[in-house]
Every structure is written in structure tokens, then in C-alpha cells.
């Protein structure tokens, strides 16, 4: 691992990609669905602003075409007034159309067609001028009038929403039928013009007429075939009505150059046109009614897809964040617990065991409570528990072992102390009984050896955790304590205890203090040349009683001094492997037990002086000092 990262970071990295993908998918899906629904909105707007007025305009224009044809043929004033009337209608419709038409409702691809529709719609004047002058030839007039409906059909077809294929098919069928109606009006117009002029079609006109008729029949067949039955019925009725059949007969007669009544052509085509218009309007309305639910469905679908998708996205993000947080919280808690265990709890238990305290393992090493429900985290917590338990048990076992070894050593040392004590008592009696200096000298030497044996036995007791144990009933002068301490040292004749102020300590601590001073004096005597003196001085000070044990040796290096002072201040666990200056370890133990301060310093004479401060609390109070053992 190149760099240390938190679990939280890694989980976040792990989850970012799926979440981003999910959000992306949702955005895409919503855009598509809403886009579809928006198409309905634009298509609806197109129908409202452009489609319906445009259709009205086209129908009016087709009517003008028919009337123009009639007028061209008859040049009759009645026909002219009808034509002029229709022209105002057409102009009205055109104005409405142009005012409402909105280019924005038209899809990008259909905009050129739209532009053309608008330009053609604005360009009626030249056609009308030609009609008024009687110059228009029928074919060209028909083409000119047919241009706008043609373009408009293209536009309508292009705008039709393609969401629903069956709906598209219906709309397309209507456009086909609309184109058929255009062909029909152009036929009617051409026929009326020729009949009014009482002349047959020119070959050119006949060909155009025939083509229109074929187109109309083909488109009607195509359109009706594609229509849904309920939409087709009204149109079918009109297109197979007697008028329609009659129109077709007259159409055939015209093509065949047979005589056709001008009046009945006009009447039939007028009736058929208006009936057709009505039927088509009705069917278109029905189609729009049918398509409305589809539009609503599209909106509902878009809304539902967007909303459900959004909920799913929010849900998954929330769930993810929660899971990730939970996981990192669990792991964090586990880490804290493990650190607490490693740095606080275990060291505390071990320290208390070392001090010899009784430790309740269950209370001191309670199981780690994992914060969450993740199985692996629980497993790790359980593993830590067992590590903790094992460690504490090992520490307890070690403490018990140390305690039992200490107990055994203490026991043996006490027995030997007891025997030595009896021996000393016997020596006392023998010394009192003898009058012979030579014998006394021998007894003295024996006494000295025995006293030192007792000291070693007591040292062993102290090291194994006990107390020197000899108790005096009366307080003892500190000077006597110091002299007794000196007596326990091998080279006691080199040691001088100078007279000191009267101070006494209780009998209960005398043995421990004698031992403490004996170790310091021994240290001073051992580490100084045999011919030099070791001095012991004591005096009352503000905080208690100070004793100085000074040798005239070579002294110690500063770091050595510091090391010894540290051992005196914080006596280490007894380590049988480290017997270097064992006596100072004993001294440190005893000093700690009685809150006595011991410090080694460099003496002005070059040797070492041990400064001991007995706290005032350890001294016998003034009034209690009357009964001091002498």
C-alpha cells in the first residue's frame, strides 16, 4: 500500500462509480421519457396554432379553387360575386393562419417546408389576377391552387408525433384522405370550368384531370384502408354515397367527352365537398379524442418513470451512505477499542498485578463490545477478546508464580532469620558470662558474622516482598539505629557515627531502617579504599531527619550516579539475573515502603555521599520520647 487511507475513503471510492452510473442512467431515462412527453406538448401546440387554422385555410382555398374554376368557365356575374365572397373568407382564414402559425412548434427538420407554406400562402395575388383576367389555363390554375394543400400535407405529416405507431398510421391515413380531397376539389374546379365554357377538355387538361381522378381514387383506397373502423365509417359513408357515385360517373363521362350537365356537376361536387369536409372534421375530432389518452399516458409514464427513478436513486444513495457510514463507524469503534486495550487497559492490569494487587480478570478485561452487526467485525472483536484474556491470564499467572516463589523464599529466609536470632541471643548471654578477653574477642567475631548472616536473611525477605520483621517495643534513638546499621557491615571499624541530635523512631520501623542504612553504609565501605574512613552524620532538618553517609572513595561517574538514583527512587521488580548492587535495590524497596528519600551525590572529597531524608511523620513526637530504649 503506497499510502495509508481510511476505510471511509476506500468505501467512498468503491461506491462513487455505481452511484454516478445510476444517477446518469436516471437522468438519461428521464430525459428520454420527458422528451417524448414534450413532443406531445409541441405537437399539440402545433395543431392548435398552425394545424387547425392551416387546415381551415386550405379548405377555404380549395373552395376558392372550385369557385374560380366555375367563374373562369362562365364569366358570370353571379359566380363572380360568390368567388369574391369566398376570397374574403380565404383572406380571413389566411390572416388567422399567419397570425397563429408558430415556427417554434415545428420540428427542426420540417422548418424549410413550413417556410415554404408561409411564402406560398402570401402569394395568392398573382393567381387571382390571372383568374380575374380570364387568362389562367386550367391545368396551371389547378397546379397553383394545389401547391399549398400539398405542402401543408407534407408539413402535417412531418410534424405528426411518431411515438405511437398505430396513432401515426391513423394520422397518416387522414393526410392521405386530405390529399384525396384536394385532388377532388381540383377535379371539380377543372370540370366546372370546362362545363361552364361549354367546351370539352383539351388533351392536356384531360390528362391532368385523369391523373387527378386516379390519384384521388388511389389515395381514398389507401387512406380508408389504413383507418381504424370507427374513424373510417363516416368518411366511408360519404365517399360511397350516391353523390360520390354520381360524381364518379360524371367524371368518367367528362373524360369520355360525353355530355354532362353543368348544373348537376356543380351541385353534386358542392354537396360532396361539404359532406366530405364535415365527415373529415368529425373523424379528425374523434382521432384527437383517441390520441388524448395516449398523450396523458405519455405524461404519466414520464412522470412515473422520473419519480420512481428519482426515488430509486435517492434510496440507493441513502442506503449506500448509511451502509458505508455504519461500516466505517463499526471499524472505527473496533480500532478505538483495540487501541484502548493495547495502550490503557492491558498496561493498567499488568501494572496492578506487578504491585501485587488482586485483579478481577473479568472486571479489568471486559469483552470488547462491537458497535455493529458485521460478522467480520464481530469476529475481530472476539479475536481481540481472546488475545486480551490470554494476555491478562498470562500476567496473572506470572504474578501468582512470582508471588509463590517470593513466598517460598520469604519462608526459607524467615526460618534462617529465626535461627540466627536465637544464636545471637545465645551469644549475648555468653558475652555477659565471660570474663576472658580472648574468649570475648572470639565471641565478638562470631557475633559479627552472625549479625551479617541475619542481615542477608533479612535482605532476602525484603527482596521477596516481606518486611525485616524485628519489632522493638520502645522507640529507638536514631543514633542507635545508625550504630546498629554500621554493626551489620563487614568493615564496621572503618565507619564513624558522629554524635547527633536526639531523635527517635518507633520500634516498628527500626529493623527496616537499620537494614536500609546498613545497605548504604555497606555500599560506601565496599566502594572506598580500606584505609579510608566512612562517616555517618545525622541532624534534624525542617522536613524530618537527614542522614549523610559519606565515603572517601573514587566516586561514581555522573551517569552511573543517575542510574543508581533512578533505581533507588523507583526500585525495579526483583530480577534474579541482575545482582549488580543488589543491596541498593533492597534499600530502594525499604525507602519506598517508608516514604524515605535516598539520593547519592558526589561528595566534596571525591567520594559518594548518600543523603537520606526521614520524613517528620516517621519520627517519634517530642512528648513520646521519654521512654526511649537505651
Amino acid at each position: 500500500m503506497a499510502a495509508s487511507r481510511t476505510i471511509r475513503f476506500k468505501v467512498a471510492i468503491l461506491l462513487v462509480l455505481p452511484i454516478v452510473s445510476l444517477v446518469g442512467l436516471w437522468v438519461f431515462l428521464t430525459a428520454v421519457t420527458v422528451g417524448d412527453a414534450l413532443k406531445w406538448v409541441t405537437a399539440d401546440a402545433f395543431t392548435k396554432h398552425t394545424g387547425t387554422p392551416g387546415n381551415d385555410y386550405v379548405v377555404a382555398l380549395q373552395r376558392e379553387n372550385m369557385l374560380s374554376g366555375q367563374y373562369l368557365g362562365s364569366r358570370d356575374s353571379g359566380d363572380l360575386s360568390a368567388l369574391l365572397e369566398q376570397r374574403t373568407v380565404v383572406d380571413d382564414k389566411r390572416d388567422t393562419f399567419l397570425k397563429g402559425a408558430t415556427r417554434d412548434d415545428v420540428p427542426e427538420a420540417m422548418r424549410p417546408v413550413y417556410d415554404e407554406v408561409i411564402s406560398v400562402a402570401n402569394n395568392l395575388r398573382s393567381i387571382r389576377e390571372r383568374v380575374d383576367a380570364g387568362q389562367a389555363d386550367l391545368v396551371r390554375l389547378s397546379d397553383d391552387f394545389g401547391r399549398l394543400p400539398d405542402l401543408f400535407c407534407q408539413l402535417a405529416d412531418g410534424v405528426t408525433v411518431t411515438l405511437d405507431s398505430s396513432l401515426y398510421q391513423q394520422a397518416h391515413a387522414f393526410i392521405l384522405v386530405g390529399q384525396a380531397r384536394d385532388a377532388f376539389t381540383r377535379e371539380a374546379s377543372m370540370g366546372a370550368a370546362a362545363l361552364a365554357a361549354h367546351r370539352p377538355f383539351t388533351p392536356l387538361e384531360r390528362r391532368a384531370f385523369t391523373r387527378l381522378a386516379d390519384t384521388r381514387i388511389f389515395l381514398i383506397d389507401q387512406g380508408l384502408a389504413q383507418m381504424a373502423p370507427n374513424l373510417r365509417a363516416p368518411l366511408f359513408a360519404v365517399l360511397h354515397s350516391p353523390d360520390a357515385i354520381r360524381f364518379q360517373q360524371m367524371e368518367e363521362q367528362l373524360v369520355a367527352q360525353q355530355n354532362v350537365s353543368q348544373d348537376s356537376w356543380r351541385a353534386v361536387s358542392d354537396r360532396l365537398q361539404s359532406a366530405w369536409h364535415v365527415a373529415e372534421d368529425g373523424s379528425t375530432a374523434a382521432l384527437n379524442r383517441e390520441s388524448a389518452p395516449t398523450a396523458i399516458n405519455a405524461f404519466l409514464r414520464a412522470g412515473a418513470a422520473g419519480l420512481i427513478g428519482l426515488l430509486a436513486v435517492i434510496g440507493s444513495v441513502l442506503l449506500t451512505v448509511r451502509l458505508a457510514r455504519g461500516l466505517s463507524r463499526e471499524l472505527g469503534a473496533l480500532r478505538d477499542a483495540a487501541q484502548d486495550l493495547a495502550t490503557v487497559r492491558l498496561p493498567r492490569v499488568v501494572a496492578r498485578l506487578k504491585q501485587g494487587d488482586q485483579v478481577d480478570v473479568a472486571a479489568e478485561a471486559p469483552p470488547i463490545e462491537p458497535a455493529g452487526s458485521t460478522e467480520e467485525v464481530r469476529d475481530v472483536a472476539a479475536a481481540f477478546d481472546s488475545v486480551q484474556r490470554t494476555a491478562v491470564e498470562a500476567a496473572v499467572e506470572q504474578a501468582v508464580l512470582r508471588e509463590s516463589v517470593g513466598g517460598a523464599l520469604r519462608n526459607l529466609a524467615r526460618r534462617s532469620q529465626s535461627l540466627v536470632q536465637r544464636q545471637l541471643r545465645m551469644l549475648d548471654e555468653m558475652q555477659r558470662d565471660t570474663d576472658d578477653p580472648i574468649r570475648l574477642d572470639e565471641l565478638f567475631r562470631l557475633d559479627h558474622l552472625t549479625t551479617r548472616m541475619r542481615r542477608h536473611a533479612e535482605g532476602l525477605i525484603v527482596l521477596s516482598g516481606g518486611s525485616a520483621g524485628r519489632v522493638y517495643r520502645q522507640p529507638v534513638h536514631l543514633e542507635d539505629v545508625l550504630r546498629a546499621a554500621v554493626a551489620e557491615v563487614e568493615a564496621y571499624t572503618r565507619v564513624t557515627v558522629y554524635p547527633m541530635s536526639d531523635s527517635a523512631v518507633p520500634g516498628t520501623v527500626v529493623a527496616d531502617l537499620i537494614h536500609l542504612f546498613a545497605e548504604l553504609v555497606e555500599n560506601a565501605a565496599v566502594y572506598s579504599p580500606p584505609h579510608t574512613e566512612v562517616t555517618v552524620r545525622g541532624d534534624l532538618v525542617a522536613r524530618g531527619f537527614a542522614v549523610e553517609v559519606e565515603d572517601r572513595g573514587l566516586g561514581l561517574k555522573p551517569d552511573e550516579l543517575e542510574r543508581i538514583n533512578r533505581r533507588l527512587a523507583e526500585p525495579p521488580e526483583f530480577n534474579p539475573a541482575d545482582t549488580d548492587r543488589l543491596g541498593l535495590v533492597v534499600a530502594g524497596r525499604l525507602a519506598a515502603r517508608h516514604h524515605v528519600q535516598v539520593e547519592l551525590r558526589r561528595s566534596p572529597f571525591g567520594g559518594v555521599s548518600a543523603i537520606v531524608l526521614l520524613p517528620a511523620a516517621l519520627l517519634v513526637k517530642e512528648e513520646a520520647r521519654l521512654e526511649v530504649t537505651r
Partner: protein, 113 residues
């Protein structure tokens, strides 16, 4: 190790009181008496020296002094020798050798006065 019922052992061992010395042939019946000379400052007198000096304030036999000091006689001899050396105590010859005849003569002589 409390042994309350028995006599308490001395805090300072006897050999320490004499610094291991055993010299001194002083008769138990010899009379010891303080001379009244103050010790010089250079002299390091122990507690026991001073106690013996006090006990010898009135001239009395060594045996009495030793008994009162509760110290072994060997120790007392060494310490008294120390004090003699510093001229703080003088030892007078004992009354050993005084016979009954001599005593009678002394009595008779006194009566004749």
C-alpha cells in the same frame, strides 16, 4: 519477629560498642571514679561512654558500675579504659589484701582514741 515475653535484645551489638576491642585488665573490685575533667572536643564519646561516666560520678567498684549499666563486663572494661585514657576516670586500687587482723587492729586503734 516480636518476642515480647523475652528480654529485648540490645539494638546495638556489644562488639559495635567497643569497635571490636577487648583490651583492658581492670579488676572487678577496682574503684572507678570520674575525675571531673571535661573531654576535649576532639574526643568522640559514645552514648555508652557518657552513661558510664555518669555512673562513675560517685567512686564505686567497677562491678557495680557494670551491673547498673546493663552492659557486658567485657564491654564496660573497654569503655572505662577509653575514659581512663582520656583522663576522665581514674581507677583506685581495690581493697583486696585487707586482712581480718588488720581490720581488728584498726578497730582496736579507733577504740583506744
Amino acid at each position: 519477629m516480636t518476642e515480647d515475653e523475652e528480654d529485648e535484645e540490645p539494638v546495638v551489638r556489644s562488639y559495635a560498642l567497643t569497635r571490636g576491642r577487648v583490651a583492658g585488665e581492670i579488676d572487678l573490685t577496682a574503684i572507678v571514679a570520674a575525675t571531673g575533667i571535661e573531654p576535649s572536643h576532639r574526643v568522640n564519646l559514645s552514648l555508652e561512654h557518657r552513661r558510664l561516666l555518669a555512673l562513675a560520678g560517685v567512686a564505686r567498684p567497677l562491678a557495680d558500675v557494670a551491673s547498673d549499666s546493663n552492659l557486658p563486663i567485657g564491654v564496660v572494661r573497654v569503655l572505662i579504659s577509653d575514659l581512663v585514657e582520656h583522663q576522665m576516670i581514674e581507677i583506685r586500687p581495690s581493697m583486696r589484701g585487707v586482712t581480718e587482723g588488720l581490720l581488728r587492729e584498726v578497730i582496736n586503734g579507733l577504740r583506744a582514741l
